[in-house]
């Protein structure tokens, strides 16, 4: 039965040839490690978000008078298993950002952004930015005290720019304060504008990976890429191991681990991403004692608090971001092995430590 169906498809789209090249003959270099599965994991995490998000969309009402009760009363209390999808969505959003960051860090450390993979890196950084925008637009939607005030703080950060700052902040908020207009725009952003943008970037990213071939890490002996490359050649590894079942199994294993962690948090740490302020409806007249953005924005937030001049604070962050974005064009050295590049290692470790320190500092 199955064979007949496959044959039917094969006559129409050449399925057998696709399976042959993409699955059976697709070989992965021998010296890859578990971190190579992180990209796939990020895609899975994103699919989970999309899926749970659509489920939540069925009952959510994006109006300030009804948003909180549609989440808290309807989804969390009244609808069966609504709590499951809401908690998966919230925990999942934090895990997604964590996975994306880990993926970028490992790609960076293994030098897999170098020629000819600069465009892949570029797409990746843009996707990270989009993911953070996803996070911060979604943060407002439950319309609780935490959402409202964290959004107030974050949308005020552009005002650090001299002339264009205020207009930017006003466009973001739809006015001078966070109101129902802000909610509508963030909802449109989160549900309708960002998804197709993100999907386009993912599509391009996956296409590029397939087209250029997997990059071998520089840590092993086999299959070092020869540099510099002056003409197109898809990298292939005839002596590598087949994608299916070996690498595929690694990916499945990571996916199970991801879900196990997600449900571990939901079972044993249910208040981790649900502090008390989440359960209080937004009150524009009462500012809670501690307003902080989400953890992934704490380091930039803390950095802005430290730098005396607001303008420099935000410009510095933008400069860092742009450097991050065009890094493959700045770092054109042939050496991929980070263990042989002490300066880069030092700078990286310093920035990582600074980021973590700022994060913890921003929490207090």
């Amino acid at each position: 039965m199955w064979k007949k169906f496959r044959h039917w498809l094969d006559v129409r789209i050449g399925l057998d040839a696709i399976i042959q090249t993409q699955v059976i003959d697709y070989r992965i270099p021998k010296n890859t490690n578990i971190f190579y599965t992180l990209g796939f994991l990020a895609v899975i995490a994103y699919i989970v978000q999309a899926f749970t998000g659509i489920v939540l969309l069925i009952y959510y009402v994006p109006h300030p008078d009804y948003a909180f009760s549609s989440v808290q009363e309807t989804i969390m209390t009244k609808v069966p298993y609504g709590w499951l999808f809401r908690e998966m969505h919230t925990v999942g959003s934090n895990l997604l950002i964590l996975v994306a960051m880990l993926h970028m860090t490992t790609v960076f450390l293994m030098g897999n952004y170098k020629r000819p993979r600069e465009l892949t890196w570029l797409g990746g950084v843009l996707m990270l930015i989009l993911t953070v925008v996803f996070g911060f637009s979604g943060y407002l939607l439950p319309w609780n005290q935490l959402s409202y005030w964290a959004t107030t703080v974050v949308t005020s950060m552009p005002t650090a720019f001299p002339y264009i700052g205020e207009p930017i902040a006003r466009i973001l908020r739809g006015g001078d304060h966070v109101t129902g207009i802000t909610l509508s725009r963030f909802f449109a952003l989160h549900v309708a504008i960002l998804p197709p943008l993100f999907l386009t970037l993912v599509g391009i990213h996956l296409f590029l990976i397939n087209r250029t071939g997997i990059s071998a890490t520089p840590f092993g002996k086999a299959d070092e890429e020869r540099r510099p490359l002056t003409e197109y050649k898809r990298k292939s590894y005839p002596e590598g191991y087949p994608y299916y079942p070996s690498f595929f199994q690694k990916q499945m294993y990571m996916m199970m681990a991801y879900f196990a962690i997600m449900f571990f948090i939901i079972t044993f740490l249910p208040t981790l991403y649900f502090p008390d302020a989440v359960n209080v409806p937004a009150d524009p007249l009462k500012t809670p004692l501690e307003i902080k953005p989400a953890w992934y924005l704490l380091a930039p937030y803390q950095l802005m608090k430290l730098i005396p001049n607001k303008f420099f604070g935000i410009t510095l962050q933008l400069i860092l971001l742009v450097v991050f974005l065009i890094w493959p064009f700045l770092d054109t050295q042939e050496e991929k092995n980070v263990m042989k590049r002490p300066i880069l290692r030092g700078v990286f470790l310093f920035l990582l430590a600074a980021w973590i320190v700022l994060l913890y500092w921003g929490r207090s």
Partner: protein, 282 residues
Amino acid sequence: MRYLIISALMLFMLPSWGTAGYKQEFESEFMTKTWAGVQVEENVCISCHASDRMKPEYREITEAWQASWHAQNSISCENCHGGDSKDAALAMSRERGFVGSPQPKNVPEFCGKCHIAIVTNFLESGHGKALMSGHKAPNCVTCHGSHNIQKASISIISEQLCTKCHTYERAKVMKQALFLTENKIEELEKNLDALKREGIYPVTDERNLFSTQAEFRALFHTVDVSLVKDRTDEFTSRLDKIDNNIQTTDRELKFRKNFAAFLMLTFAGMGIVVFLLNQSKE
């Protein structure tokens, strides 16, 4: 070249850290702006009465009010005293409804502008009747204070307070009659709060609890012990209904935890199996 850029960036960041101390400026610049429109509205009553030119006794009033339950619920001067809280010239004008501070006899009417049910019962009580006929009697302020009014609780009925006019015996009997019901209400309040922390939003139960509590307290103001005792059963059954709902919700929460744990175990199990499959091939 690239290392020059990196080092320049590092040098840039270091002195910025040294000049930390701008947290305050950041917070005062960002946090107290009028984000939410009416957040820090100017109340002229408070501006005058809290200023240095005011007599110390008057300044104490604003401090006392700031600490009160009224203040936490955004009830301020003009809600009780009338007047215009936005216009300094007309702040205490009769035209704007300013009534000043009430005489002891008029205090129930003053507070009864909002607390209708309580005043109705109070005026029918021994305390109320004594007050209205000019005898030495308590009014609202006697037990609750005037500006630093806190959330009412059974501890207001105390030996110290009630023996100002008569023996504590009667008050003690009343306190005993109220005790169990008040305790139950407090317990239910705590349980509802705990539920809210878990993300459940028990709106109907919260409202029922509040209205039961309000009715019970209004009843107390008649200071009629037999009436309270007679109706205690009625109140207890209302509270029991709320308790049942809370228990049902507790069971639901337990089910949720178990369900999530079950899913965690299936995924962990699958992870282990895939791992083993992985190993056995190679």
